[in-house]
């Protein structure tokens, strides 16, 4: 029995390994293409490890398109939204979980139901609204809605707060703490791990967003990173400069990959929870 299990496990390990190769090989290929000599891209049989590697494209990309401003814009949008939005969301989650006021559950239900409104169903009026305000071709339409909070985050933080005993908050109230004080000194420190995980997930979603930026941003220097690399793809594919395109794409992909590898434990755990509870 034990031997059979050992064999079965080795077999499964091998399958998982092959699957893992299928997951990673395209990304590796993306990287090796970016360091290939332009002719090697077309070589048959394919060159897997170019010799020598040409890292020249990684210095060329900064002059071939607004990559740097793209990074700056993406960072600006994602940081502003997540920092302010996490504050407003966690405050609302605290209120929904621990404070008593009439109509609370109805309002919460309304918020949760609004989650099923797909973005395409609101993007046209939203666009006209922001265009009336003169915000088209600025980063504001990508930033301002997020500042008001994120319903998914409110939902998960509220769930998380359910495990915080009410007595803790009642005690602070009796001690004369203000509600803002209870939030800052008791609630926030307690939910920090959940806040951090949700913040990272939200940051990644904003960083990788494509539909909203493509609607609002026209000028190259206003565009977010994802749009910039899409334009690299459209522009340099005609010249078949694939190493250049891949180098720009690797640069767009790398920051989130690093964030993921650093925080993989927290990210994976909070995603796994979302499914069980979802």
């Amino acid at each position: 029995m034990a031997l059979r299990r050992k064999w079965a496990n080795s077999f499964i390990f091998a399958i998982l390994l092959v699957g893992g190769v299928f997951m990673i090989a395209p990304l590796l290929w993306m990287f090796t293409t970016s360091v290939k000599d332009r002719m090697d891209v077309f070589a048959l049989p394919p060159v897997w490890i170019p010799n020598p590697m040409h890292f020249g494209k990684y210095s060329e990309i900064w002059d071939k398109g607004p990559l740097l401003s793209g990074i700056k814009n993406s960072v600006f949008v994602a940081v502003t939204v997540t920092v302010v939005g996490t504050f407003t969301s966690s405050l609302a989650a605290f209120s929904f979980a621990k404070l008593r006021f009439p109509g609370k559950n109805k309002i919460f239900l309304l918020m949760i139901s609004s989650l099923m409104i797909p973005y395409p169903s609101i993007m046209i009026p939203q666009f006209m609204m922001f265009s009336k305000m003169g915000w088209v071709d600025t980063l504001l339409p990508l930033i301002v809605p997020g500042l008001f909070g994120n319903i998914v985050m409110i939902f998960f933080l509220r769930q998380y707060l359910a495990s915080v005993p009410n007595a803790l908050i009642e005690a602070a109230k009796i001690d004369g703490s203000s509600y803002a004080g209870i939030y800052a000194r008791i609630v926030l420190p307690l939910i920090k791990p959940a806040v951090a995980a949700q913040l990272i997930l939200w940051f990644m979603a904003i960083w990788n967003d494509y539909l909203a930026p493509i609607i609002y941003l026209n000028s190259p220097e206003k565009q977010t990173l994802q749009l910039v690399i899409a334009n690299f793809n459209a522009t340099y594919a005609i010249q078949t400069d694939y190493p250049l395109i891949m180098a720009a794409s690797v640069v767009a992909l790398l920051p989130m990959l690093i964030v993921f590898l650093v925080f993989q434990k927290q990210i994976i755990e909070s995603v796994a929870i979302s499914g069980v509870k979802g």
Binding site: I12, L110, P120, L227, S249, G275
Partner: protein, 295 residues
Amino acid sequence: MTTKSKLYRKEAYWGYLFILPPVLGLLIFALFPVIYSVYGSFTDWDGLGQMNFIGLDNYKELFHDELFYKAMRNTLYMMLGIPLGLLLALMLALGLNRGIPGTTAFRVVYYVPVISSLAAISIMWNLAYNGDFGLVNQFLDLFGIKGPNWLMDKSTVKPAIMLMMIWKGLGYTMLLYLAALQSVPKDYYEAAELDGANAFSRLRHITWPMVKPVTFFVVVTNIIGGSQVFTEINIMTSTGGPEFSSASVVFYVWQKAFGNLQMGYASAMTVILGLFIFIVTLVQFKLDRSSEINE
């Protein structure tokens, strides 16, 4: 008594204040636009001139719009990958649930495509599907298969994009399954084994029912996400593919609204999309309720 009601009033005041920003955000950036969208779908809205009420004209026109039908069919077609993705993810999760060494590393490896930028991934697959020197055909060549020019051929462009979507989403579904599997009590399996149940019947009678909520959740979220697919289409087939064979509904909406400024017409499409998603969510809710009652 008065101090108590005063305290309550104070609590309610702060309670409302704390939820004010998201409530305002919801009203301004979601509810108002969604109502406006419905209204706009009954007008000849072009974003420039006056909006004139034209009744159901947009919807009538949609009924005869061959491209809209095509976009809907394409979108549904690309969702056919959902069951395949589920099956692969469940098999991987079952493999990972045996305490094999390297489980953590595998979880990370399979999750990398999930966190990767969709734009960057689409650009990479765009090249990988190239008929002459793409990774996919080079791989097929090892087995002596001559692959097509995937994205240029109307019969292969949808399966190609579908496979890419499976590849990207696999790690997420696998992770959810794995979490569900880990919560199945071990003694269920031990009891079944004592009763002489073989591996397949254990899978069918214990594992599958236990992970049903996850299957459900993933199917619904995938349908909702899949009905809004846009980025892959926009990057990999910038014109909507050969003969519009890869254009999705949202791609067509985007073209009509922001390319042709037919905002009323595009709004009608988004109303249909919204209704579709509403129905899917409702069905999930109903089924979820009934499964809870049955068990």
